[in-house]
């Protein structure tokens, strides 16, 4: 009952999702959206692993996905805590407002 699509179609889907996440990260100034876009990119990377694992019928790809999920969970917990602190401090969610460097 498993699909027999060409592997590159799966990987291409992962690449498209990744690119969409990247666009989101680069375009949105709101840091909540930045975090959200990073989630999209992580998810796309996980998808690539699972597709590659499915190609060889091995469980390793899925284990990599587990690592990514774990990382994403930790990242989101810390990231959202930072967002809360950020909004308390700067009274805004504009990521560019945090720049104190005068390059």
């Amino acid at each position: 009952m498993t699909a027999s699509v060409p592997i590159e179609h799966g990987l291409a889907l992962a690449a498209i999702l990744f690119a969409l996440g990247l666009i989101g990260l680069l375009v949105r100034r709101n840091i909540v959206y930045s975090l959200l876009s990073i989630e999209v990119m992580l998810n796309a990377a996980g998808l690539a692993f699972v597709v590659a694992g499915a190609r060889w019928g091995q469980s390793d790809g899925q284990i990599m996905f587990l690592i990514i999920v774990t990382m994403a969970a930790a990242e989101v917990a810390v990231g959202l805590a930072l967002v809360l602190r950020f909004s308390r401090l700067f009274k805004t969610l504009d990521g560019d407002a945090a720049s104190r460097m005068r390059g």
Binding site: L26, I31, S99
Partner: protein
Amino acid sequence: MLNELWLIPALPLAGFLALAFLGARMPRGLAGFIGVGSVGLSAALTILIGLRFLGAPPPDNSYTQVLWTWFEVGKLSPQIAFCLDPLSLVMTFIVTGVGFLIHVYSLEYMRDDPGYARFFAYMNLFVSSMLILVLADNLLLLYLGWEGVGLCSYLLIGFWYSDPANCRAASKAFIVTRVGDTAMAIGLFLLATHLGSLNIHTVMEQAQVQWAVGAPLAVAAAALLLGGAVGKSGQLPLQVWLPDAMAGPTPVSALIHAATMVTAGVYLIARTHVIFELAPSVQGLVAAVGALTLLIAGISALAQRDIKRILAYSTISQIGYMFLALGVGAWSAAIFHFFTHAFFKALLFMAAGAIIVSLHHEQDIFKMGGLRKQLPAVFWTFLAGALSLVAFPFISSGFYSKDEILMLAWYSPQGGWHLWLAGLTGAVLTSVYTFRAVFIVFFGESNGHVTSKPGSMMTVPLWILAGLATLAGLVQTPITHLLERTPLWSETAGEQTAHTGELGLQVAAIAAGLLGIYIAWSRFVVHRDSTREWTETAAGAKLCALSASGCGFDWLYDMLFVRPFITAANFCKKDFTGAIDTAIVSVNMGLNYALHASQSGRIRWYATAMAIGAAITLAIVILL
């Protein structure tokens, strides 16, 4: 039975390590206790070992304790080994004994200083290095101690580093002695390559076997060693650093720049005297250096205003006497003068330090005056030291040692009437400048305001040293006999004891000392006003300026070396290699300006940069 020898230098070293690493967190009492206790233990151990050594002398009067082999390069394998013979025993006794008294004195002198633990750490390191120097079994280990004391001297002269003048004095001391040290290092290379070893015994034996008297190599080696000795001991032409070294705390001046380190050159020459005997021309040079130095330093001391600088010049002058003795082959006389000088000069410095503290850090003798009544303890002890310095007959130790030097300067085969005359003139000068200081500081009307009196921690060491300065002359015969048992110690001038006219020479020496005291009395007590008027005449002012500037050596060296060097450096700064260096700097700065525009602090900009990087990387993968 002498197995504990290694502990003598190891204890102060342990004290240094403890104070250096933990001193900042220690209570002051503990830091002082460690600093003084380690040297005290070392002194006690020295006495114990000295008594055992004298009670049952080891075979050949020399005991060597090998700890381990330092390193092995080719046929050269210097060891960490300590050698105890009568010469090093006398030196060790002075270093630990006088060192201990000065440490006790420092407990009170440095009481309110914020760098208390640091001070004792440096002092302990100094004592340890000095002990390594005098106990070393080979010349390389001796050189280690030699550089160690140089480092400590630098650190302690610049102890109050917040004042740039002190740092400049420290650098000057370090750089000037470096000239001598370089000569000495080359001398050691020469000995090591030609004699195949640096062990002192082997070197001395091999030198006698391989080199004839007056051989060019022997002359070169002796001259290079003399260079090192001259630098360390503040002799002509490298004496300019010692007066400036008085920028350090007074206990430092007493320990390092009077009693111990500056006599390392005397020790070195006495230790390697075999080589000097093989080079009679250099030995004559030693005597000439000593004679000239003692005269120039004596003249320089005449017009100083700073009490510590007077004492510094007197130190240079007294070491000049020791060099004179070494130059005429009177080894034991030189070491005996070192022995007495260590007591009375440390005493004088410590008494001067007590005055300086009592007058709230006033060093100008013309702002003192009339202190005899206000600081009687300091007066009597200073007087004891001063009498010893001018070799006052019979009741001072300096009399016995200086008298012997003058005698041997006349009678020794290498000596002569001119050396004797120089020594005698020096004796008159010594009396004049010493008693000038005594009369101006302690007599006359009171100018200064005594804010505090020295406590027992300062006066007790003063009294002990005053006793030693007065009585140490009585051990002349035992010490000389002890020193003559040093292995390889050939006394060329010591044996002539009975000569015709000896009494006449002694009377002349005594008369010279008394004459100097009389001159000082008449010029600075009775006719003080006329003296002051004389210094205001054109000729008088010029002479005073010449004396006060140390006979113009600083000016001379400034013209000869410092200015040409700075001019050359300024010239070289503009050449094309400099342009290359500047170009590198400006390119980097330009890149920095270009790149720090990218450091905007914006997350999105950073993410864009990463994405661009990924795109370029992938493009490279595709295209290649």
